[in-house]
């Protein structure tokens, strides 16, 4: 009996199956290219994908409420560009203050998104699509089509340069906070409640509009932070930075088992989803597949994961039905 419940736990849990996928993936890559699992490589995987991993947390919250936010990379560009310009014109060089300003800009952008989605009852994809144009455009307008070069952000980029621990610390702190908040706090559970059933959540006394506004605000804040982080990691700020990368963030969540209709998804799953995408991107050239094929492989994996998920769900439903038959 006990064995059966353990088996059920393994097949039933998305996280466990993701871990298995991850282990198989790592083993395969490691046998094909023994130099893969080194400390430098692993550190690089995290550094190169820090932005996606950070924003995936916010996207998890937004998708849990049944929404989506495609304006995040525009918010990122707006915040990152502001930070770049503040240093270019020698207004501010304090790393902590720059991060704070970036986060506040993101928070404001996100709150506006959230208010329009929650109070204006606009479809999230349409609202954030509008802001995708607006924030990206604002990044161009404030920069006047120029960009902040490595020299301009010289002192600041030490925070995220190759070998510095800055990005890792931010990632670890963010993941710990989100893990705790989503699992054990009232606010975290409210997000799940709103995503599972809005009416039921409202009747049981949850302020649905406030919850929705806050998840978009959190998303914006993380995107703002990611903007600052991006400036420090890549040591430059351009208005077109990370263009189109919002789909990577959504893909990481989807692979991690976050449901697009809301209510389902975990922090651990999101992390594993982002990690799988990151490892594939890093491993392809090592196993002899040209990096040109990267996007193709990524797309196939996304589709394969979601389709497999549907198929397992169907067979499970069928089994449950047949068990009930006498």
């Amino acid at each position: 009996m006990k064995e059966k419940s353990l088996w059920k736990k393994i097949t039933g849990s998305r996280e466990v199956s993701l871990v298995i996928v991850l282990i198989v993936l790592l083993a395969a890559v490691q046998t094909l290219s023994p130099s893969f699992l080194t400390a430098t490589n692993i550190a690089q995987i995290f550094r190169n994908n820090a932005l996606t991993m950070l924003m995936a947390l916010g996207m998890l919250c937004v998708m849990l409420t049944g929404g989506i936010d495609i304006s995040i990379t525009s918010t990122l560009a707006f915040s990152g560009m502001t930070i770049g310009l503040l240093q270019k014109y020698d207004i501010l060089h304090n790393t902590f203050l720059l991060f704070l300003i970036g986060a506040v800009i993101g928070l404001i952008c996100g709150s506006i998104n959230g208010m329009i989605v929650a109070k204006g009852k606009v479809a999230p994809i349409i609202c954030t699509m509008g802001f995708m144009y607006i924030w990206r455009g604002m990044a161009y307008v404030i920069s006047n089509n120029a960009w902040a070069s490595g020299q301009d952000v010289a002192g600041f980029s030490d925070f995220g340069k190759d070998g510095a621990i800055g990005p890792y610390i931010i990632l670890i702190i963010a993941y710990i906070i989100f893990f705790v908040v989503m699992k054990w706090t009232k606010f975290g559970r409210q997000i799940y409640a709103v995503g599972s059933n809005k009416e039921a959540a409202a009747i049981s006394g949850i302020n649905v509009k406030k919850t929705i506004t806050s998840v978009y605000a959190i998303m914006g804040m993380l995107a703002g932070l990611a903007g600052v982080l991006s400036v420090s990691i890549y040591a430059s700020a351009q208005p077109n930075m990370q263009y189109g990368k919002e789909m990577d963030v959504i893909a990481a969540c989807v692979i991690g088992g976050v449901s697009m209709s809301g209510g389902r998804g975990t922090v651990v799953g999101t992390f594993l989803g982002a990690l799988i995408i990151a490892i594939i991107a890093k491993a392809l050239p090592l196993v002899g597949i040209s990096s040109i094929a990267q996007n193709f492989v990524k797309g196939v994996i996304i589709l394969a994961v979601v389709v497999l998920n549907v198929i397992t769900q169907r067979t499970m439903d069928k089994q449950n039905l047949s068990r009930r038959e006498i």
Partner: protein
């Protein structure tokens, strides 16, 4: 007339004063305002100039019609930009390898159709999945295939540019693509508003289950709509080639959002079952004419996008504001 969910079924015919006060009526006023604005801020805003500059935006409007169908169904397709990229890339490569122009053009449209069919197949076989996820996957795959066929260079140019330039020719001041927009417009608007097929789309968009029980072949209709959009994306790629003479990895990037913006601004709701293509067509011309006008006074391209983004958000907020201002209608 209100549906079960309180949603108004806009396919219900209206008449008299409500027709003028409708969304389409407002859009026509906005369109006139944009033309007046263009005339007053730029001396070059003449019919000839506008039509010449319009040529690079017109192919996107082809896709607007197909996207309108998809949105009325309550679905979404964010892979069209990548389909355009794939079609343009493969057509260039085929034409450079010596395939005659007519065959290459057909190939372009055929590839688009196949891509649309793939989307439709996945969307109808795995109905549990939101179409956004499916087309997110195919979006990455289609562009991935284009990237692989482009190789490390990342771009390809159309060698026999004389052939493809035929499509960029003009009849009087009007480019060929303009006539195509009008023809497609008449056909697609008629199909959506005057045929059983169009009515089925509204039914499915309003309530899938009810339409299924009413005997509508829901999945076959959806499949057909994705295929139509794919075909139109191929057509768009063909006319884009006649203006760009080549393709690269970023061709068509962001088209899906621009096309969806045209539809939504035209009053087609992403929740399905609402809106019509006349609105979408007027909205498309509003956006294009505004872009040209602001472009002529050398306004920053990105600032123009800010204005379009703001217009989009305001337009979707208007029904909400109207509801708040108007006294609540009596419930039956």
């Amino acid at each position: 007339m209100a549906g079960k969910s309180g949603r108004e079924i806009s396919a219900t015919p209206k008449g008299g004063i409500t027709k003028i006060l409708s969304w389409e009526g407002a859009l026509i006023l906005v369109f006139i305002a944009v033309i007046i604005l263009g005339k007053s801020i730029s001396p070059n805003y003449t019919l000839n100039n506008v039509l010449r500059e319009m040529q690079k935006y017109l192919p996107e409007i082809f896709m607007m019609f197909g996207m309108g169908f998809i949105l009325v169904l309550g679905d979404i397709d964010i892979s069209v930009g990548s389909i355009v990229c794939l079609c343009a890339t493969l057509t260039c490569i085929a034409a450079n390898a010596g395939v005659p122009f007519i065959l290459a053009a057909l190939l372009c449209i055929l590839i688009g159709t196949c891509c649309g069919m793939l989307n439709g197949f996945l969307a109808t076989k795995f109905t549990e999945l939101p179409t956004m996820i499916i087309t997110l996957g195919t979006q990455i795959i289609f562009r991935g295939i284009a990237e692989m066929s482009l190789g490390s260079g990342g771009s390809v140019s159309y060698k026999n540019s004389k052939d493809i330039a035929v499509l960029a020719k003009k009849i009087g001041p009007f480019p060929i693509s303009f006539f195509l927009v009008i023809i497609l417009g008449v056909v697609m608007i008629t199909v959506l508003s005057r045929t059983t097929f169009g009515r089925k789309l509204y039914a499915i968009g309003s309530n899938k289950t009810a339409s299924y029980y009413a005997g509508i072949k829901v999945q076959r209709t959806r499949f057909l709509c994705y295929t139509i959009l794919g075909t139109l994306a191929g057509l768009c790629a063909l006319f884009l080639l006649s203006a760009l003479y080549g393709a690269n990895t970023t061709t068509g990037q962001g088209f899906e959002m621009e096309v969806i913006a045209m539809c939504v601004f035209g009053g087609i709701a992403t929740t399905g079952g609402k809106g019509n293509l006349i609105g979408g067509l007027i909205a498309a011309f509003i956006i294009v004419c505004l872009r040209i006008a602001l472009g002529q006074i050398n306004m920053n391209t990105q600032l123009i996008l800010v204005i379009i983004g703001a217009m989009l958000i305001v337009s979707v907020l208007i029904p909400q504001i109207k509801n708040a201002l108007m006294p609540k209608k009596q419930k039956v």
